[in-house]
């Protein structure tokens, strides 16, 4: 019994330690080697809705992304680039949705309605680009990407052993 308890406590502690210690609306952003001085975070805010909770007709949450960045170098210092642009990227990387221009400080960019997505900030050749192409400088994942695959947890299907 003590061994079982220990195993369970370890499992819970592991989840607590590795899971996001942020709310369901927060995205920590991580710098790439391209711009190691960059720091940032994003906050997802429900798009304005008379219901408080904004969703599409098929039920996808609609969030406005508020990005806070610092330490972004001048885009031109990275090459032939003039602006930083935020992109919401589907988790299989097949779909890139332009969100808007990001600068040091706080930027409220576009609305995203994907279940799981990456948030990528890239240096781009100009601020109006419709497709991504430059180097990424900050990236993060929506909180929903922490949704776990429980099928793999042996605790649920084979019991916890000492």
């Amino acid at each position: 019994m003590i061994g079982r308890l220990r195993a369970l406590a370890a499992l819970a502690a592991l989840v607590a330690a590795t899971g996001p210690d942020v709310g369901p609306y927060d995205i920590p952003l991580y710098a790439t080697p391209t711009a190691p001085t960059a720091k940032g975070s994003a906050r997802l805010v429900f798009h304005e809705s008379p219901f408080g909770v904004a969703v599409t007709a098929d039920g996808h949450a609609r969030y406005d992304a508020q990005i806070t960045a610092s330490g972004l170098p001048a885009p031109s210092s990275l090459g032939a680039y003039r602006a930083y642009v935020a992109w919401a990227v589907s988790s299989d990387l097949s779909r890139w949705q332009r969100l808007g221009v990001v600068t040091n400080g706080k930027s409220t960019v576009g609305t995203v309605a994907m279940n799981k997505f990456l948030l990528v900030i890239e240096a781009e050749r100009d601020s109006a680009v419709a497709t991504h192409g430059g180097p990424s400088v900050l990236h993060g994942s929506s909180p929903s990407t922490f949704l776990q695959i429980f099928q793999a947890h042996t605790a649920f299907f084979h019991g916890v052993t000492d």
């Binding site: 019994m1 079982r4 308890l5 369970l8 406590a9 499992l11 819970a12 502690a13 989840v15 607590a16 330690a17 590795t18 899971g19 996001p20 210690d21 709310g23 369901p24 609306y25 805010v45 429900f46 304005e48 809705s49 008379p50 219901f51 408080g52 909770v53 969703v55 599409t56 007709a57 098929d58 039920g59 996808h60 949450a61 279940n115 799981k116 909180p143 929903s144 990407t145 922490f146 949704l147 776990q148 695959i149 429980f150 099928q151 947890h153 605790a155 649920f156 299907f157 084979h158 019991g159 916890v160």
Partner: protein, 593 residues
């Protein structure tokens, strides 16, 4: 983080202690909170019949073909082995005490009762027979109807309602959203005693605000409301242009039932089961029926009065792509009419919308959400067709296309709200944290929840783990409204405000609780404005009585505390209410009567 680990450890210890000695728990019943009397003795159901024998699973988590699971599981998902063979503690209840359904009168469709100021009417809670998915069940209805009679009443009317309890549980009627005399609010333990089976109570109901309201018991809502005791009131403004014009009106009440192959899943006898997230049905009903139909003409504008009477489910309603204009919510019109892609409707909320069906054809009434498949760790689209609107080719008469296309500003609403704007930025007068405490839950549930909460959706649209939910009862789960200033919880909070004051309440839904989920918080007898969500000011205001608080959200509401009395503030998920998530706002009279 440390708090989370400590909580986890405490829960694990409690869970192991509870499950190591026996799989069946000690069922010492805590005192029921006010408004939640225990079910009466007439109802008897067989606890043993709900127990799935351990050998019903031919491999971990898999049901055999011959032994159906005791609880319906989402397609492709199985009951966790650690939960197989368990049943909720506290016994079970179904209405009718085992009577033959054929001995109970067949339910009748809702009738419209047009009442005027000074009228008296009778409402009786009765047993009814309803046939759902081909099976007859004994359920409840008002005057033998589900939904109960639709009361159509002029604004500022006062009516008398003689309520007769003819069911097998204590009951009452709460007039949801109506700013009426506190004595008639219908909350046992706060404003009246529960009406015992066979007894009566007389309500005097005054309707100061136009809009759509509803009535339901305030006793074991998880049973009584869920089984059909609900009805609407439409309060008509004397202003004929109060809403933009429509060709027809429809009053829709959404709810759901949880059934297995041939049984209604019984209810907790001592207190609610499904205490973790509330009972989420697998049969979605509109006006008590599984298939809603409406005939309309090409170009018709239909005004829908929508009410969510479900215990826990939040809906996302659309009309086959037809354009939707939202006009009003709980207690008033919006400042500005607004186009929306769909209507999000939390338990107890109401919205008034207009929909224009421009082309002939069939328009499905759909509830569409992104469900979570916990085992695959993925979102899955889930869409239920609740009904169909058939639009023929004859043209609407009159044609209200132009009026529908226009989005009106309701200056009277804005003027009314203007009086409260100076208070929008005041510091909160009260801050309540929404959380929960679990004790004695099955070990597998504790394991799962600690992993599951690595991600918590702001809104859980469906019950992804009904086995775990089913096995949680109000004996093990205590949902909490915690006063941050005093640390007091639920009914221990002593909250007094003076009549006429404008009170700012901040509600914070703790994402680190054992089971984070959304809560539709309902305040009785007053009206309130949602002035900000997560610090973002609301742009289009409307008076509310119920507000959805997503997980991790902070919602600021401004209460117009104009109506004296003792008023419940509670989560409207019936099982959360039944697990303690309630307090009382005492609005003290400015001057003694």
């Amino acid at each position: 983080m440390n708090r989370r680990i400590l909580t986890t450890a405490a829960l694990l210890v409690a869970a192991v202690a509870a499950t190591s000695s026996a799989q069946q728990h000690d069922t010492t019943m805590p005192a029921m909170p006010p408004g939640m009397p225990m079910p009466g003795s007439p109802g008897k159901a067989d606890t043993a019949s709900r127990r799935a024998p351990p050998d019903s699973m031919n491999m971990p988590g898999m049901s055999s073909n011959s032994m159906p699971m005791p609880i319906p599981m989402p397609k492709g998902m199985v009951m966790m082995p650690g939960l197989v063979g368990l049943t909720p503690p506290g016994g079970t209840f179904l209405p009718g005490g085992g009577a033959d359904p054929a001995s109970v009168p067949q339910v009748r469709p809702r009738q419209i009762l047009r009442v005027k100021d000074g009228d008296t009417l009778d409402l009786s809670a009765t047993l009814v027979r309803r046939t759902v998915a081909g099976r007859p069940y004994i359920m409840y209805g008002f005057n033998g109807e589900v939904p109960g009679p639709l009361l159509r009443v002029p604004q500022n009317a006062t009516i008398t309602v003689r309520f007769h309890n003819r069911i097998d549980l204590p009951s009452s009627i709460h007039w949801h959203g109506v700013r009426l005399d506190n004595r008639y609010d219908g909350v046992p333990g706060v404003t009246q005693q529960a009406v015992a089976p066979g007894d009566s109570f007389v309500y005097r109901v005054h309707f100061p605000d136009a809009g759509v309201y509803w009535y339901h018991p305030h006793v074991r809502e998880d049973i009584e409301q869920a089984l059909g005791l609900f009805g609407n009131m439409i309060v008509d403004s004397p202003d004929s242009s109060y809403y933009s014009p429509a060709n027809q009106e429809q009053v829709l009440v959404f709810d759901d039932l949880l059934v297995n192959a041939d049984t209604l899943i019984p209810y907790g006898k001592k207190g609610p089961d499904f205490a973790l997230m509330g009972r989420v049905g697998n049969l979605l009903l509109v006006n008590g029926e599984p298939r809603y139909t409406l005939d309309a003409h090409r170009g018709d504008v239909v005004r829908f009065y929508l009410t969510n009477a479900a215990s826990s489910r939040t809906y996302n309603i659309s009309f086959g792509g037809a354009p939707i204009k939202v006009l009003a919510s709980d207690v008033s019109r919006f400042e500005h009419e607004q186009r929306v892609p769909s209507v999000v409707l939390a338990p107890a909320e109401r919205y008034i919308v207009e929909v224009r069906f421009e082309h002939p054809g069939r328009y499905p009434l759909v509830n569409a959400v992104q469900a979570i498949n916990h085992f695959r760790g993925e979102f899955e689209a889930e869409s239920d067709t609740l009904g169909m609107i058939d639009v023929d080719s004859s043209a609407a008469a009159p044609d209200y296309a132009a009026a529908f296309d226009a989005l009106r500003d309701n200056a009277a609403v804005t003027r009314d709200i203007d009086r409260y704007r100076p208070y929008f930025d005041k510091p909160p007068d009260k801050r309540l944290t929404l959380t929960m405490h679990g004790s004695g839950l099955p070990l597998a549930t504790v394991q799962f929840m600690n992993v599951d909460t690595a991600y918590y959706a702001p809104v859980e649209w469906v019950d992804g783990m009904p086995d775990m939910n089913w096995l949680s009862t109000s004996e093990q789960v205590r949902w909490i409204l915690r006063d941050d200033a005093t640390g007091k919880e639920n009914m221990d909070i002593d909250w007094h405000v003076k009549q006429g004051s404008v009170v700012k309440l901040e509600l914070y839904n703790d994402p680190k609780s054992f089971h984070p989920m959304q809560h539709p918080i309902h305040l009785h007898g007053q009206r309130m404005l949602v002035v900000a969500r997560n610090g973002v000011r609301t742009k289009n205001l409307v008076w509310k009585d119920t507000v959805l608080i997503p997980v991790g959200s902070t919602v600021d509401v401004l209460i117009d505390a104009s109506n004296p009395g003792d008023w419940m503030l509670h989560c409207h998920i019936a099982e959360h209410l039944g697990s303690g998530m309630m307090t009382v706002l005492h609005v003290d009279r400015a001057t003694p009567p």
